[in-house]
Symmetry: C2
Subunit: 444 residues, 2 copies
């Protein structure tokens, strides 16, 4: 059995704590015995606690890859989508990866699951039953049905039929996001929410994938990734499948995708440098900036500040953040990368278009920034903590706290941390874009 | 006639927009025909509009001096208190300054006024009547009485007696901040609020001042400034005066010293990089950071963000900011100086006590930072806009956008802007305090 964990999402509904690089599933806000953890860390921890030993492959975007590496480390495989499409192409790619790169045979049981639902351990027991159903050939595909608690128009529904095997019913049909009246009728009919968890044999999916992209190698599939239709797995596969089963899960199942639903699950009300007078009611405060946040006497409020921005929202209105965050679309102002973290601490554009961007960066011990050069910007690095090695146009030397290095445009540079290495970077030039970068090989 | 404008205040009640260097009177939030203006700019504009041509001397603290210069320029004299004491010493100092440095005679009429009440032009008509009363010898001192609108326990009261001259009544007694019941009785008796505006002959005050500090020169008075008692003008002078008159002012008179009272007078609800969904009610938003602020559906709220911090307060609770701002006491994170402005954009302290502080600074054309050196910190300056001249250990050279200069501890340095000059400064060292500075002379 193999697990494919889908990690996508645009990160606008929990703005400004989430952004394109740090979607909601990477926010370390949830409680665990070992301190705060993110949604993606929680789902992996729960998976292991349930006794499921299956190898996990995370299907994600290039923007999120570094966050996955940073939070899950070596414990998972990662398949990076060459471009953002939809769940059907992403699952095809992950299945081809298992088939071509991991030597999995067509009879291998695969379970696809989202990385962000907030659930209990029973959820993973249902996954075990789904996998067992596929293994024993009860159906071509088995989906997880979640017992609905209200006629939501946000979810897809699964209408079950008779029993295929103990605990596994057939699926009569799928209905995507109905209106509330239809949802009420569906629930009366016994319909369940579609939990987005699917089990099937690997060969079942690869044969569907190969209808669109038929290549000899995984590299070839990557190259032709854009030929997969931009469509969800539900539409392209689940709804068309002839022989589908459903396993029910009755237990906690929440989408902590909005400020309102997320804050319901948090044990703390204040994160970061926050001070209150104690008269606030139902108020959640998140401060990822270094400056202090003071809150006096507020009610039903969520306040969050990060290098990306500040939100102050009445909780019931906080869902509206999505459209505004999209309008505010800017470069991510902080990121967790495979080598460490950075935050933008200042950004200024002058009348003639010349720009300056100041960052604070920290490399983890042993990690390195790739050998690179820029055409349009100069960089000045002032090291304020730690030790490391720098390469400037092929020449290697040591750097440490107190040193400053000038990197004019056109100079190749790489950096590796010996100890945790923190520096201030001042970028300046006429065109400060992330794409102004050429990468080269460097053997440390 | 001479005006003494008292500019003091600690800047905690409008935190984080105000701080030790930028008290409330310097916030450019009020409307004028020429755009936004501060309280101190408003009072000077109103004074001139009323036809009063008297020279103005601003009595202020060292921390606020640069803000006064920056906002009022050459139009006023400035007397800087050597240390913060109270209104009596400050007024003594300003009077001695007029007497010793401006050659004003003892018969000169002086009007002392606060720099921050929000008033109408009638206020200045009352000042004219006060000055005229002193000139014609009606009383030794004339105070402005403000018609009270409620029995406030925050203000001092003036109890008037019979008429000394048309429009000028005698003062029976002063009462400092009574309880509400006493305030009610006082108002029934015809008492007025003490507006903190006083007129007298210069000689009247210098003779009182010289009871405490009797020196031959103004420099001597500065040197012995600490010998003036730490007491208010009201207690030390007004309440003891034998022959006091009162001129009434009936018109708008507000202390915009709290978020609640200030926001009542503002025509705009959003300042800076602010976005809302339009469903907010009675909400004022101030954003002096470069990152965006988004507000959704809030009610009766004031939100303010600056490099000093973020406040989110229910308006009726916003007065409580004072005690918290004092607890948060930190170095000012942005200041308006005589040479320009700076803001702290990042501040970090490592486990071993080593610190780094990153600032963005802008010098106005023609302005200079004094020739100085530091014992405990290195500085790196990266110029991102403009042109100027730098002095490093006595050697003068040009700097401009794109250049970086290293200033290790012990190196003397000065900087002068030819055009508006912006740079990023990274300070680092084991002890980053404002007092680690030795200043030297440099002749540009």
């Amino acid at each position: 059995m193999k697990i494919i964990l889908l990690s996508g999402g645009s990160g606008t509904r929990l703005w400004p704590l989430s952004n394109d690089a740090r979607s909601k599933q990477f926010l370390r806000l949830l409680d665990s015995e070992k301190g705060k953890e993110s949604m993606v860390q929680r789902v992996i921890r729960q998976l292991r606690a349930s006794g499921i030993k299956a190898e996990v492959t995370v299907a994600t975007s290039a923007a999120q890859k570094d966050s996955v590496v940073s939070q899950l480390g070596e414990s998972v495989n990662i398949v990076t989508e060459p471009s953002r499409r939809d769940t059907f192409p992403a699952i095809c790619l992950a299945c081809e990866y298992l088939s071509r790169m991991h030597g999995c045979g067509p009879e291998e049981t695969v379970v696809v699951m989202p990385c962000d639902p907030y659930t209990e351990l029973g959820y993973f027991e249902s996954i075990k039953r789904m996998a067992a159903g596929i293994k024993s050939g009860v159906a071509d595909m088995i989906v997880m049905g979640i017992a609905p608690t209200y006629p939501s128009a946000k979810y897809g529904y699964v209408v079950p039929g008779g029993e295929l095997a103990p605990g596994i019913r057939s699926v009569k049909r799928f209905t995507e996001k109905p209106d509330v009246a239809t949802a009420e009728r569906l629930i009366a009919e016994g319909a369940q929410w579609n939990g987005g968890v699917f089990a099937f044999r690997l060969g079942y999916m690869t044969s569907i994938a190969e209808k669109y992209v038929k290549e000899d190698s995984f590299a070839g599939i990557i190259e032709h990734y854009d030929e997969f239709p931009k469509i969800s797995f539900d539409y392209e596969v689940a709804e068309k499948a002839a022989n589908v089963g459903m396993v029910e899960y009755r237990g906690e199942w929440k989408d902590l995708g909005t400020w309102n639903t997320l804050t319901d699950e948090l044990s703390d009300h204040a994160y970061g440098n926050v001070l209150t007078d104690g008269t606030e009611v139902n108020t959640h405060l998140f401060n990822e900036l270094t400056i202090p946040m003071l809150c006096l006497g507020t009610k039903d409020l969520v306040v969050a500040a990060s290098p990306d921005g500040i939100i102050v929202a009445e909780k019931s209105k906080s869902e509206n953040v999505k459209e505004f965050a999209e309008a505010l679309k800017q470069r991510p102002m902080f990121e967790e990368r495979r080598w460490g973290t950075y935050k933008v601490i200042d950004s200024v554009e002058f009348e003639d278009g010349y720009c300056a961007l100041t960052k604070q960066l920290t490399l983890r011990p042993g990690c390195a920034i790739s050998y690179q050069e820029h055409d349009c910007r100069d960089e000045v690095w002032t090291f304020i903590d730690g030790e490391g090695e720098i390469v400037l146009d092929g020449k290697r030397s040591s750097v440490k706290r107190g040193m400053t290095v000038n990197i004019p445009k056109g100079m190749k540079h790489a950096l590796k941390a010996r100890t945790s290495l923190t520096f201030i970077e001042v970028q300046s030039g006429s065109n400060l874009v992330e794409t102004d970068i050429r990468r080269f090989e460097w053997e440390w």
